[in-house]
Amino acid sequence: MTRKVVIVPCSGIGKSYGTVAREGAYVVTEDLRPDTTQLIPLSLLVLGDEQARADVASAQAITLDGCKLACATKMVVESGGTVAHDLAVLDVYRRHRDLKPAGIAKLNEGGQKLAQALAEEVVTLVDALSPNPSPNPQGAARGRGGPEGGQDA
């Protein structure tokens, strides 16, 4: 059985970039590559949850960090995992300066599109790590700005 690539987003609660990381992870694991990726919650790694640590330790990880403190990357390493790629949302934003994120509970349109752009970068990396990439459920390049993006609570 092929191991899924684990996606570990930052769980940042104080910055829009954290929400972009979270949303981007959902786009990858639910929309674009549900069969070849698995989302791991950072809080379980903080607690040292055995299953989460085992999942991380036995697979390639792609971390999505919302700020320079890089909690997701550090926690994967701390949990014995291998970080195949670490993406900083800020770097993705630098490549898409027209997509300025705002809002934390509810991302603005720029933030939603930035999450989509992040997800598309992640998908390229996932496919390179997966020996037999699964069929593309929704297409990795459907254009910026999917229908999702942040909660409206």
Partner: protein, 238 residues
Amino acid sequence: MPDLPKKKVGIVACSGEEMAEGTVTRLAALRVLEQLRPNETVTICLPLFLAGGEGDRAFARFYPTIALDGCDKRCAARGTEMYSGKPAAGIVVTDVIQTNHLGTARRLSDAGKQAVDVVADQVAQQVDELLGVQWDRKQGQPSKEAQPAKESEAKIATCSCGSGIPIQKVQVDGQEVTLIALPLIFAQFRDAGKLPGDGTTAELMQTVKVYNPIPDGQEAAYTQAVMREYAAFYQEKN
């Protein structure tokens, strides 16, 4: 004069990405931080207790903290206690909300959004209890007799990441110990014109002990160390 942010409560949400209840904690925390009690609350990202510095790990020892968890694994409560300090209070969403129809982690249902309101109200109530504030429910604000200090209204939640709590390492009986908030306390005392010496010792140590437990039998050694450091601080800044 520098203020010690004594009158704030820390909110730590699990933010669990894989379940709707985790999203409820995240949004409820944000509701409190941004709308319900913006001037009385601060937050920090849970992973910073491991990934951050000592200042970040001092968070729950500096602020009375409410841990907000999505499930009975209680990652926020247990993680906060393991790496920072015992939370003053905790709420578990599954204890409060008796429905399995909250939606998904990515998209809350209407019931999930209602759960956010319910949990946020509970957190706000606990914030008031921790601050000793009587809330006037008719007016929707603190009652006049217990009005908290006025501050500028926050609109967007910001985390304490990176900024951390000011700390200082001091030698106590040949052992290096970390004292939380010591730089702020020293600055406050200096700005109040309190000279290093016997007249300041009791008050200074009383303030230090608000944030730092002093082990039994070591009060004298701690006092000596703190006063030595304060004398050095005072001399350097004057």
